[in-house]
Subunit: 573 residues, 2 copies
Amino acid sequence: MRFSINWAKRLPILGWLPHYSVGKLQRDFIAGLTVGLMVIPQGLAYASIAELPPQYGLYSSFMGGFIYCFLGSSKDITQGPTAIMSLMVAMHSADFHSKQSSVNYAIALSFFCGIIWLLMGLFSLGFIVQIMPLPVISGFTSAAAITIGVGQIKHLLGLSNIPREFFPCIIKIFTKIAGTNVWDLTLGLICIFLLELLRYMRPVELPAHYYDSPPTRVQKVSRKFLWILCTARNAIIVFATALVALAYHEKGLTPFTLTGKVEEGLPDFQFPSLKTQDKNTTVTTLDMISDIGSGFIVIPIIGFVENIVIAQAFARKNHYEVDATQELISLGVGNIATSFFSGYPITGSFSRTAVNDMSGAATQMGGVFTGSVVLLALSVFTPFFKYIPKASLSSIIIKAVLRMVDFRIVKRMWQTNKIDLVPFFVTFFSCFYELDIGILCGVLIAMVVFLYRRLVPKIEILGEINGRYHFKLHGGVTYVGIEYLTSKVREKALVNNKSVVIFLECSTMFECDFTVTEGLVQLYHECGDRDTKLIFCDVRKDVKEMLLNAGLPTELFKSDLPEDLSGLLNTPM
Amino acid sequence: MRFSINWAKRLPILGWLPHYSVGKLQRDFIAGLTVGLMVIPQGLAYASIAELPPQYGLYSSFMGGFIYCFLGSSKDITQGPTAIMSLMVAMHSADFHSKQSSVNYAIALSFFCGIIWLLMGLFSLGFIVQIMPLPVISGFTSAAAITIGVGQIKHLLGLSNIPREFFPCIIKIFTKIAGTNVWDLTLGLICIFLLELLRYMRPVELPAHYYDSPPTRVQKVSRKFLWILCTARNAIIVFATALVALAYHEKGLTPFTLTGKVEEGLPDFQFPSLKTQDKNTTVTTLDMISDIGSGFIVIPIIGFVENIVIAQAFARKNHYEVDATQELISLGVGNIATSFFSGYPITGSFSRTAVNDMSGAATQMGGVFTGSVVLLALSVFTPFFKYIPKASLSSIIIKAVLRMVDFRIVKRMWQTNKIDLVPFFVTFFSCFYELDIGILCGVLIAMVVFLYRRLVPKIEILGEINGRYHFKLHGGVTYVGIEYLTSKVREKALVNNKSVVIFLECSTMFECDFTVTEGLVQLYHECGDRDTKLIFCDVRKDVKEMLLNAGLPTELFKSDLPEDLSGLLNTPM
């Protein structure tokens, strides 16, 4: 463990700020503004996934950018509320009698998770993302996206009192479908259509040689305008539908289900309240911690995976390196800071990061502008937010999560490695029951599959000549496979109490664990009992050292090459 | 999956019964009797670990042998109550207001676990024992043994109202130590001393040439007598101390804490009651199942591990094969049958199996005699059992579990593979908090360690010649290591946008999972973006097929041998 701090690594701003320029400032300003226009409607919408009042989505949207500017190791990523994190928050904070309890839980969650991320960073536990199996992450993401999408249908239909859980939600929607608000449904469908249209229309910047002639200034400006229009489509849709609702309101009509009162102004800066009063029961900090339980494993891991996968994707695209430890630290500090401003857990957002990159972000400074836009919106526009129809926010969410459902991976797994479909489907289906349990089951099954494939190590039995048996190991043996290896040797060479010689060629054994050494030592003793010689050929130096330490005598090891070995096999002893 | 039943495998009795003889019957009779004399005091004692009335230990001691005679695949193993299973039972059934609830839970546990074992057997899930890491099993066994031993100290001191949990138990013993019953303590210590003495005195059968002259008939008989005396030492101690207590009782004295009333006669045959009434609450079958929860994973796994480890050890010693699937089936049927006679979960017992082997058991028939001895004891001797002092039973338990604590393994792990100490100690210490949690934490940590060691695959960078980079993989790559591999390639060969050729030698890659193929395909696309060629050399057939299915074109694969490859490296293209 290193105890000296590498400041350039731990404060990435020290790396890029000295080279900052007006050009970069311009690019960051535009990118930050664009992302800001995106995060405002998303924040309001995601708060509804988290089952919190809308302003809490905005409260979670600014500190991430400010902190990331100092601590983040990727120039593209923008941290804030995301659909999946909001769903995870709802799972742990929604089921209380008072709204205030839910809010307190959500804020406490971002405080505690922040501490966990920070600790993971300090202990360099970033490798955890590597050991999360891809099929599990993929199954989880698709299931969560579908759960979120289905959860929004109630807003699209204008129904209320629909439970949050997947299956009860579907059942309740069907029983209540007669009460659909046609205005909401129509508005929602129009929004979805317009969002799709605007996404489709967004101009793609092609390399110069694709064009017959260089674009004129007018063409350039109009293309840029269209690009901004399409990129800010969420904000435009929300603004437009809110205007429509406001117009109806002026006439004394409220055909749409509206967002309702949004708390005005900026959140207070205060230490997150880590206890709450729900109806007549006092929930202490310890109660909260034990309530959240497995959430303290699952939320930090999922949040970190979301963040690092996005960071790595853009780092690869733009040729730079991200530092997993540093991302953990920025997530940790960002979440703790957010919890002081009444925000709920944040992480890297894929859609906003992509827009940030496309908008030409030069450095992490963009987050500061994004955060400022959110603060501005909070202090000025909150009175207007109450007119936003819920159906238009839902349409944004549905559009966003539909892209996260990926079933092409099923086909690819089928073609390459069918057994990986097992953890995928176990995760996918059990996530509909509960996300935490889905992830844990998925990881467990993936581990069993991983180990199951190591149960039968590849052993070539080269046959017997004059009481000499020759076994060749292909591709190593782990603790799960040692029983198979020794039982194979026993079965072939130790059956009849004859005294024989056993050669075990181990050139492909690159490592060795304790169970393996124990198994080989036991095999050696069994051979000794039968006056049989066990010879290890071509053992790598580190493995040999382990086996010697485990108590095998040096004379068992022959460093002969396979040619030599077959010679040994043919000469009588 | 096979749907035809291999009767010889599924009913092992069909294999040995046709060759049965009077000689074998004699041997089985003696062995069965000896084990029977052992299981009676053990059953009474282990019931106290399970915190059940003593007769339930005997109720659990006979059906196992009867069933195993038909279904068991090892001639030596004897199934019945064991110290560890009794502790696991106590964990799930002890904390109720009424004793009847505890009893119902314990019986239901053996019914449900029986079903789980049977299902595991039918689905051939015997491999689960292989994927249980040895350090976890070892840490668990030592911690459980210490917990059991410490839990018996209260009986040795004659204290009552001591909690079951490890730490509260120790604390309470210290606060109550002034109330020690000196009679109990003295008796207990004498019993421990005598048990140790008798164990030490047991004659060992040496090969004939160790003796100066062949033993006389008197020597032979006296040695045999001594052997039986020493082997039945538990029964003798229990019988003798009960006689002493009875003598005191006749004089109107009760200096020792006695076992107390033992229900007379045989248990009724009845369907296990899967619900119960605890104080004023009704516990339904579903409540029971959700109460037991993780116990349904941990108890069947621990029970099976205990059983199969013992079975394999004696199979190795006596040169026969045990069938993991068949052991599961016998455990399943044995436990279900036991639950119909009010017994609690049973599994293979190490101490009794060892004695069975030493007594010369010829076949599984011994279990029938053992069971008959227990039935005889139940129907005749129960009135006498109430005089057995608790301290003498505790001394038997303490002697039995002390041998299960094994810390020499720590030294061996330290010498061979230090990282395996992490799961060992995590399991060991967390088991004192709760056994279930200890096992689960241990397995989790062992998995993380297992994967952590695969995080950095061994890649040899053979260097660059004329824009050709040569990487050589040593020992395969799994999903946890692919990120390291591709990032290493990226870092070395894809940094500057030059068009280069990358050779990746994969001769030691014996398998490939979905995440690996995805990573390599992505690397291939990245290389394509940079006009760089990625060549895979010496890829094994099955891995190549997977990569082709994943979408890599055939021309990327060169089946050249390493010699050829270095030739490629040296010739200009």
